[in-house]
Amino acid sequence: MVTIENLHKKFGKNQVLSGVDLSITEGGIFAVLGPNGSGKTTLIKSVLGMVIPDKGNITVLNENIKKNSDYRHKIDYLPQIANFPSNLRVKELIKMIKDLRKPTNEDQRLIELFKLEPFLDKKLGNLSGGTKQKVNLVLTFMFDSPLIILDEPTTGLDPISLIRLKDLISAEKEKGKTILITSHIMSFVEEISDEIVFILEGKIYFKGTIQKLKNKTDQPDFEHAIASILTDNHA
């Protein structure tokens, strides 16, 4: 599905990724974890072609992504911070993104699911953080793409929306899609992900199931397993 080979990226003097090798198979939920500034977002943005790597190869669905933009038809991406043009209305934004990609009717269902009807005519600049995130989720999930990338999907969501998001993610998984998630909420990750990828200092430190991580670190629960990796390497 996604293959990353020997990926290097430097921002100025700051070496963010130093030789990431990762291959993600089709189907299932993969959580990308790591401390702040470990390069999770950079990795994801490299897959999307928003960050141009210094070195290395990325293929998405057997297409090399270099100098290519069509492969993004097959990716739904949820950006970390939902910054939308503030003078657009929610309705207009949804329509515009549909025009750019392809027509879909899925948005109606998602708008109902997240109870966004009262906000459709409001300008994006006037929405609260959580509501913006819901609009963001609608924009991401309304296309039926085989690869979904979610960067911190839970930010700002209330508990009921969080439950709906989890249901939504599980439903997409049932359809056989591949879902890539980054999050700092460990309980969320533990609940939904099949496999985790742990990034540390620009490299893949661990890849496997949660059970495997628990065994490796000798910790009974997931949260402590993650914490033990961090203390062992940073203390």
């Binding site: 943005k45 928003m50 933009s69 069509d70 993004r72 950006p79 043009p85 003078n87 993104i97 750019l100």
Partner: protein, 248 residues
């Protein structure tokens, strides 16, 4: 573009055109006054709007980058959106009052259209330069600073330096040098073009005669337009080039 600023800009030119016509009561005189305004103001507005638009739409750009769109088409689209709407404001804002005043029956129509053409060129050039600056500078304040400096340099400082060189080397034949010097600055080039078209080159003295010989001919005119086109094409190419390598 959903920008009320382009309407403000349009209204400004509309007002300027009307006021000038009422005060001057003469089309060709109004054209001269307009030239002075356009030569300085159009590049300034192009620069500021270009930089402002780029920084303001940054989030939007990031949204678009995740969509299946080519980078070059995103940035060229934004550039053309700004540059063309500014040009439209200029052409319509100035054109309407002059048309109502009876431009078509007047002999000043060619001078006036030359004025609008160079104005459009200047908008295209300076918006492209502004986008270049904004693309290369993440820091908004820095970007704005460089953009204003660029405008100040080309609109004012360049002339000063140019004049000083001419004075320093006044013992040498300078026709060619001054011609080339004028060609290299789009603002100077536009100004000279319009002045000569208005047939007031007598004001320029001996150099005026040399200039007239060059710019007055159709050859000179074509070369000048080629230069202006080069000034548009080079920054636009750099926009495409730079945007392909940038991280977001």
């Amino acid at each position: 573009m959903r920008s009320r600023w382009s309407y403000v800009y349009f209204a400004f030119y509309l007002l300027l055109g009307i006021v000038l016509l009422f005060l001057n009561n003469d089309l060709s005189k109004a054209v001269i006054t307009l030239m002075n305004v356009i030569i300085v103001l159009v590049p300034l507005i192009g620069t500021i709007f270009g930089v402002m638009y780029y920084y303001n739409s940054k989030e939007f750009t990031e949204l678009l980058l995740a969509q299946p769109l080519k980078r070059s088409s995103i940035f060229l689209g934004q550039y053309l959106g700004v540059a063309l709407s500014l040009s439209m404001s200029l052409i319509l804002g100035l054109g309407l009052p002059f048309v109502f005043y009876g431009l078509f029956e007047s002999s000043a129509i060619w001078d006036f259209s030359l004025l609008l053409i160079t104005g459009t060129f200047l908008t295209l050039i300076f918006t492209a330069l502004a986008f270049n600056i904004a693309l290369s500078n993440e820091n908004k304040i820095k970007g704005f600073g460089y953009a204003i400096l660029l405008w100040l340099f080309l609109a004012v400082i360049y002339d000063g330096l140019f004049l000083m060189t001419l004075i320093m080397f006044e013992d040498y034949p300078l026709d060619k040098v001054s011609l080339i010097g004028t060609m290299l600055n789009p603002i100077d080039l536009s100004r000279t073009l319009i002045l000569l078209k208005l047939d007031i080159s007598a004001l320029l003295g001996y150099t005026g005669a040399v200039f007239k010989q060059f710019f007055g001919t159709s050859f000179g005119l074509i070369i000048s337009f080629i230069m202006l086109t080069v000034w548009v094409v080079l920054p636009v190419l750099r926009i495409i080039f730079k945007s392909k390598k940038k991280d977001f």
